[in-house]
Symmetry: C2
Subunit: 525 residues, 2 copies
């Protein structure tokens, strides 16, 4: 399985003609071959033309065909075997076991979307039968279904080289919805991207689908990304990454005459509220859970608990002591890329130099390149409220504890939080009344609320929301994880008085797909 360094445009291997990107093994700082020469406007043009040509046919594939295609992608990814695991681990510094787990999640996600495509809930079929005798005017026969938006540009994340990358959640949900996908590979794992991209291209071919259903592009600078987001044939964008990166794509999309949805998942510090009774009863266990969640995967998760909020006092002091004790022993961990490591060091340094945040403890010293030490800071609520920089995400295993002198201060901290992916409440029975008054605020702030858990670990399930108000994402109406992620790439079309022979199968009179339709506003049993 030799890597070629080529892009994949509608299944064809195409060499780029711009500067090459190279992966770096962050564990050793070794530069990994091959180089991935970047594409430019001309390759974007080619990929968009093919995607557009494929669109009408692909979006009308039967649910069974599209489901089988998604399953074939999963099969092809598994068929890559250890070569994928080893390359992904080398490119990211993530342990083999973690990558194996992530591959499992990625393939399970594709198979789950296959089930969802077959079940057909996403079509949201609505039928209002004609009422020819209605007074004063007859009612026409109205039928509604969802159709795919069009080609989708996907920008993968650095921290999940499989599950949020070339064949990750954005790609799986867009393909499930009937949208062709053009991926711009993340520069940190181009070899992993090539392997997975070839697996997807093989699945396209094996499924007899038009080539343009999938393309994979590389690019060192912004040229490819901006060209993709501004191409009139691209109808939606999926992005997971930094606030700066997401903002650049949002601004590029705004330059279009036609507005399109940009689903950017950007930054979140995932506040965790420790309520008094819980903190008093089981502070040590909470500290253990917290440090485990904070340091998992070197803290490189969008749902990493970067902010703890509690009433000051002895229970919180004991919690901090225990967290410090655990943190001190936590080994430094290799981060994903030298750039991410540098940004983490700079972020931690900014917090330490802020003057309002006091360092509680740091983890064990680095033993190799690009290793991040965990950091725990503490600040007073008044200082947190006065300085928005204390709310900036530090991507990695750093967290800030905000000590509140009163319930009012705690409530104000909650009210002043920016939008988040998650918000967590640790509580016991006696904390319920206080928690109840906080939930409405947190509902306005976050896409997922947890009780007595930790936000890391995002289940791929129908009820999951991995999203939230700005700046956690650019569109609080959407989730990028879970089966509802498909809804991002669909739009409704109404068919009025269509003869049965002109209707798609999902709307046909006899309901051949056996959907539970909304019939005259009532859900069919």
């Amino acid at each position: 399985m030799t890597l070629t360094g080529d892009m994949l445009i509608g299944g064809q291997a195409i060499a780029g003609n711009r500067d090459a990107i190279h992966a770096i093994n962050p564990t050793t700082d070794e530069v990994l071959a091959p180089g991935y020469a970047g594409g430019g406007r001309e390759q974007v043009e080619q990929a968009c033309a093919l995607a557009w040509a494929a669109f009408d046919g692909y979006r009308e594939t039967a649910p069974a065909v599209r489901a089988r295609f998604l399953e074939t992608i999963a099969d092809e990814i598994e068929a890559l075997g250890d070569a994928l695991i080893e390359r992904a681990s080398a490119e990211t510094g993530l342990p083999l076991a973690r990558i194996q787990g992530e591959r499992g999640r990625t393939c399970q996600q594709l198979r789950l979307f296959a089930q969802v495509v077959r079940a057909g809930e996403w079509l949201d079929v609505r039928v209002d039968p004609a009422q020819p005798g209605r007074q004063p005017l007859p009612r026409a026969d109205l039928r509604q279904r969802q159709i795919a938006l069009g080609p989708v540009a996907v920008f993968g994340a650095s921290n999940f080289p499989l599950a949020f990358s070339v064949a990750g959640g954005d790609t799986a949900s867009a393909l499930a919805s009937g949208c062709p996908v053009i991926v711009k590979a993340h520069g940190a794992h181009p070899g992993t991207s090539e392997l997975v991209g070839r697996a997807v291209a093989r699945a396209v071919r094996r499924s007899g689908l038009p080539d343009g259903v999938f393309s994979l592009l590389y690019g060192a600078g912004h040229e490819v990304g901006i060209a993709l987001v501004t191409d009139p044939r691209v109808k939606a964008v999926g992005f997971t990454g930094s606030r700066a990166g997401g903002t650049a794509l949002i601004n590029a999309a705004r330059a279009r005459p036609e507005p399109i949805p940009v689903y950017a998942e950007m930054s979140s510090i995932n506040p965790v509220f420790l309520f008094p009774a819980a903190l008093a009863a089981r502070g040590a266990a909470l500290a253990q859970g917290f440090v485990g969640s904070l340091t998992q995967g070197a803290g490189q998760f969008c749902t990493n608990p970067g902010l703890l909020i509690a009433r000051q006092g002895e229970p919180l002091d004991r919690f901090l002591d225990e967290a410090a004790r655990l943190l001190e022993r936590s080994p430094a961990q290799t981060m994903l890329t030298p750039a991410i490591h540098r940004a983490y060091v700079a972020g931690v340094r900014a917090l330490a130099g802020n003057g309002k945040a006091r360092l509680v403890m740091r983890g064990a010293e680095s033993l190799g390149p690009n290793q991040g030490q965990a950091h725990l800071f503490v600040a007073q609520a008044e200082d947190f409220l006065a300085d928005p920089r204390l709310q900036e995400e530090v991507f990695g295993a750093a967290s800030l504890v905000v000590q509140c002198g009163s319930d009012e201060a705690l409530r104000e901290v909650a009210e002043r939080l920016e939008g988040q992916l998650t918000a967590t409440l640790h509580l016991d029975e006696a904390d319920l009344p206080a928690a109840r008054t906080l939930v409405p605020t947190l509902e306005r702030k976050a896409g997922r609320l947890l009780v007595n858990g930790w936000p890391t670990g995002v289940e791929v399930a129908p009820a999951m929301v991995h999203g939230g108000p700005f700046p956690a994402t650019s569109d609080a109406r959407a989730t990028s994880v879970g089966t509802a992620a498909m809804l991002r790439f669909l739009r409704p079309v109404c068919y009025q008085d269509f003869p049965d022979s002109l209707l798609p199968a999902s709307l046909a009179f006899a309901n051949p797909l056996q959907l539970r339709r909304l019939l005259d506003g009532q859900r069919e049993a």
Copy 2:
């Protein structure tokens, strides 16, 4: 029922302190009292503060309470009696019977949303029960529901002073979703707006809801609108009007740090395809249906058929002859405002002066101020394709017939259309194969496709889509008419491992609202 000229901010009558707007009776050019002094930033601030304060409470009102509130608005509008009908007719030039019908539609719409709120489908409840024994990791209990986005700014349309105005579809669907509403009244019917606004405010009071649930502002310039759209407490915008107006609001919203959805319904020429067999078999009947749809309400509908497309030849010539014969006899009709009449005259003049569009016929001469004469033009497909100005909406009873020399030309005309609210196919059995090849293109172009009907007349029903790709609207994923309009103002929130006592009723373990939930991805029977 004396009109005061005051704004309504959280139920309080507040006099504006900017230039006043006055309604004009377009039938007589008479200026109608009272003046409506405009508000400014300070009144927007006040309305937004009240809406924000009302939001958390209002969005959690029980479905039955919110439904009853919507019904109470309808009752209060009906209780306005003839005063409303007479004022609306005077301000718009629309006949009394038309306004009566529109009142019926407006109240029926409010009552339909009440039913939908009670039924609870909009909550899209999803439950994935915990799997504590799952390997390798247990699964948490995940529950998802939809919650309201936040306060919504509504900009009413000129052409439906009731159904798309103060208590029209945007307001009804936003209130149904749990969003407080701040309306900027359309300057053409301020008296109608005051009457309806007072009815809504009375319903708020009678329902025991917080005052900030509803406010009504006036303003002659852009100050109020821009301040509303850029206020951080406003979380969505509903607009129906011109492309220029919609574009201004979209651009204003882009100045915000936090992106918000702007649902602008802007312009559409609603292409109608006349297929050969249908045209040959019943050209005269088609001409009759067409002229009826074109001239209804002086052509002042977003779904007015502004474009006909057909193969050239004798059947089309006969259709044109018959349409011309009918059009010649069609009386000029008073348009909504002097400005709309001037824009119509200018638009028709631009078409007539284009050189590529030939005038087929115009309707009867004007007999009074602000009366629009119907106009029918014809152009060749090549000219239509070469000149985008021939696609510009002329708001009023003007239509352009595009004659195509070949099926390829017809297909290219379809492919080059901008986004539309509707696209219509007139066809007989023999036309089905040709129609089938055109439908995929039209699905990409429009929100609603009709067979053998006319696009004017938009049913308020669960399966309706009144929306479509840009520039018909700013967001093709949305509809502004029909029960799915509520989905615009909602976002999902996931609750992980919440104890039953902390869950909202819609997610409680015992399912007290008896919702048909998505349970583990399967719809409950």
